[in-house]
Assembly symmetry: C2
Homo-oligomer: 407 residues x 2
């Protein structure tokens, strides 16, 4: 028995989160399944940003550092974000980019495990995770980056820390953070999680991890280039020394002391002047998240991704499409990845028909299902249009074959 579009419409009518779709700007004629890359814009983001520009900067000018709370934005915003990842107040600092956040976390971990000279990085990590670790290790010298193969084999007593992504950006596979963290820590190493593809997709829990990093422009809907975050477990706050020692992480930034003295707590993970404007949409987005039940988010995410997998297997079976994401809902995030040898032109043909996913080399089609604004009928239509593109071989059209500069 195949589920029908009418069945999907009925599921939407019963969806306890259905009212949230109206809080996002979604273009007409588009099924936006790229919320795992750049989340849709909260309607409130526009007014929130305008307020910071015209009322705060425009009227309060330099006084805004006090009167508008700019100086503390990295920490006040971090406290609001913390419950999304299982952290408490004073444990998350928002700012910079994920790449920079990784440098903070890994450099702090290296310093906390001085005898150990190996940083383990998952080959399945998003490339920037590996690139920045490579640059850091090269600069520091005397360290080695080891690829994560089989976890228990790699965990020798020379490992300082392990950097892994909770959800694989390509396959959508989700790792068991509690189990992995426990094994890494049992081996004497520190565990650092990259939450880029999980924060905002469901209730993340890194409360046992040593450090975590992530971005806010995917499921957290905070806009292009929105600030990243870094979490540090309180047991490390007193000792952690991350290497990017800018003045905002100083114990007394306005005392203009000659030497660096790290601030207490998570503030020592801040660096330079925060990008004030870029915090506005994030806080507008967190206004929504504070009203959302994360268990309902997860239930809907599982339902959407399960439905998509089911429909793809039913409708697209004859066309050489492989479902890469694990079938077990516990083992996936809120993304479904499919493999097709001509993935690139297939995705372009899909986008031309209003179904927006993205492509990751060499052959992965990714579809993200942001539970706050994606409907069951969207899932149905996306699978049906995908089947049509494959059945009619639309993707063979030459205009889909040519590579764009950025995909």
């Amino acid at each position: 028995m195949t589920i029908s579009r009418a069945d999907c419409a009925a599921l939407d009518a019963d969806d306890p989160l259905k009212h949230l779709r109206d809080e996002f700007v979604l273009p007409d004629e588009t099924i936006y399944l790229v919320g795992n890359s750049l989340g849709a814009m909260p309607v409130a983001a526009s007014a929130a940003t305008a307020r910071v520009v015209t009322e705060e900067w425009g009227r309060q000018l330099v006084g805004g550092w006090n009167s508008a709370g700019w100086f503390d934005l990295p920490l006040t915003t971090g406290d609001r974000l913390a419950p999304m990842i299982g952290a408490g107040p004073g444990q998350v600092a928002v700012g910079d980019t994920t790449s920079i956040a990784i440098v903070k976390a890994v450099s702090a971990a290296m310093r906390l495990r001085p005898g150990r000279r190996v940083v383990v990085s998952d080959l399945a990590n998003f490339p920037t995770d590996r690139y920045v670790v490579e640059g850091l290790v090269k600069a520091v010298g005397g360290y080695e980056v080891r690829d994560l193969g089989v976890l228990d084999e790699v965990l020798a007593d020379d490992v300082a820390c392990v950097l892994m992504s909770e959800v694989d950006y390509r396959t959508g596979e989700r790792h068991d953070t509690a189990a992995v963290t426990a094994r890494v820590q049992a081996a004497g190493a520190l565990m650092i999680w990259d939450l880029c593809h999980s924060a905002g997709a469901y209730r993340v829990d890194v409360s046992q991890a040593d450090f975590a990093v992530g971005c806010t422009y995917k499921y957290l809907n905070a806009g292009p280039g929105a600030p990243a975050f870094v979490y540090a477990h309180p047991r490390h706050h007193a000792e952690a020394e991350q290497m990017l020692t800018g003045w905002h992480g100083h114990a007394a930034p306005f005392a203009f002391e000659p030497g660096y003295r790290p601030a207490e707590g998570i503030r020592r993970f801040t660096v330079g002047t925060p990008h004030v404007l870029s915090f506005a949409p994030l806080n507008a987005s967190l206004d929504i998240w504070e009203r959302v039940d994360l268990d309902q988010v997860r239930a809907k995410s599982v339902a959407l991704t399960s439905l998509f997998i089911e429909l793809v297997e039913k409708l697209c079976a004859p066309y050489g499409l492989e479902v890469v994401t694990p079938r077990d809902p516990e083992r996936r995030g809120s993304q479904v990845s499919l493999r097709h040898p001509d993935g690139y032109p297939v995705m372009r043909a899909l986008i031309d028909r209003g179904v927006h996913g993205d492509f990751r080399a060499p052959d992965i089609l990714r579809f993200g299902f942001a539970p706050l604004y994606i409907r069951y009928v969207d899932v149905y239509d996306a699978a049906a249009i995908l089947a049509e593109v494959l059945d009619k071989e639309h993707w063979r059209d030459e205009r889909y074959q040519q590579r764009l500069a950025v995909t």
Copy 2:
């Protein structure tokens, strides 16, 4: 013969830049002499930011990385900013914070002078410059930070690079960049300039320097936490390896290669995903700068600061105020610093009367004169109100004595 307020009004009437004041939002009843800390808001910044939020993010969503040019923002914006500092196209990358930009420049310089193990940092640098160098050197190991005392004495053959601010953030003193650069380079070291207090104040020329960094939220009027910039001389583009090797600096960021391969040219100085929203006011501000004659800016800056010094010396002579900034216009930026033992309450009393400068411990009162929007009558009024605050000892009022958390 003392200049009168009417004389100042006449100077304003003849000011070739007077029309620019209308392009900025300036609060009523305020003389804003803190443009050297946070520049005033260009009127156009509001619409520019709204357009990026609602039209680019809201409508183009993830497609904005191509269609709205987000991906290239660090370089396209850098090319627009380049003429302000004497650089050419392809030599400036915008993004991150000044603190992070310093890590890029200094780590690249260290790698380019591998045998030399000393980083010279001016004690007069803004503290973050020293803090981040301290953190970098500590992480890398085997290096030493040496304070800049007398330049010719410090320039031994173990010096890899020298980091100096073109304009001293406290005293407003301006250094001779050409002469200092030549001496540093003659000693085999690399010269890195911090332009935070000079870019946008006059025509900067770092074309002979090796690297330069700066912020855009002071005289460049790009808003609180606007992105910083880094300049690298083309002779270093092929060899420079800065240590923050994020994916945006990769030769092929969307190929998702396992290892880091730096991009050609200045792009290798970019790191993570650019803070797209924070670029909007900067580009709105550069629209203004592209219509401005920098020689007129400098001429007005010299006139404003000279007038302020003259008036302060005339009106405030009896009150123990010392002019810290050099009298020679060639040796100062666009800021005048005064010293007073009770500088903190004096500044608070001034602000209470609508004259906004700022205070830097232990005893410096700073007044920035942004030539795009400060008038001669503002200078007159500021000096007159300062004289009154001192004459009537308004600053002794107890409400001005108590310290604020952030000053």
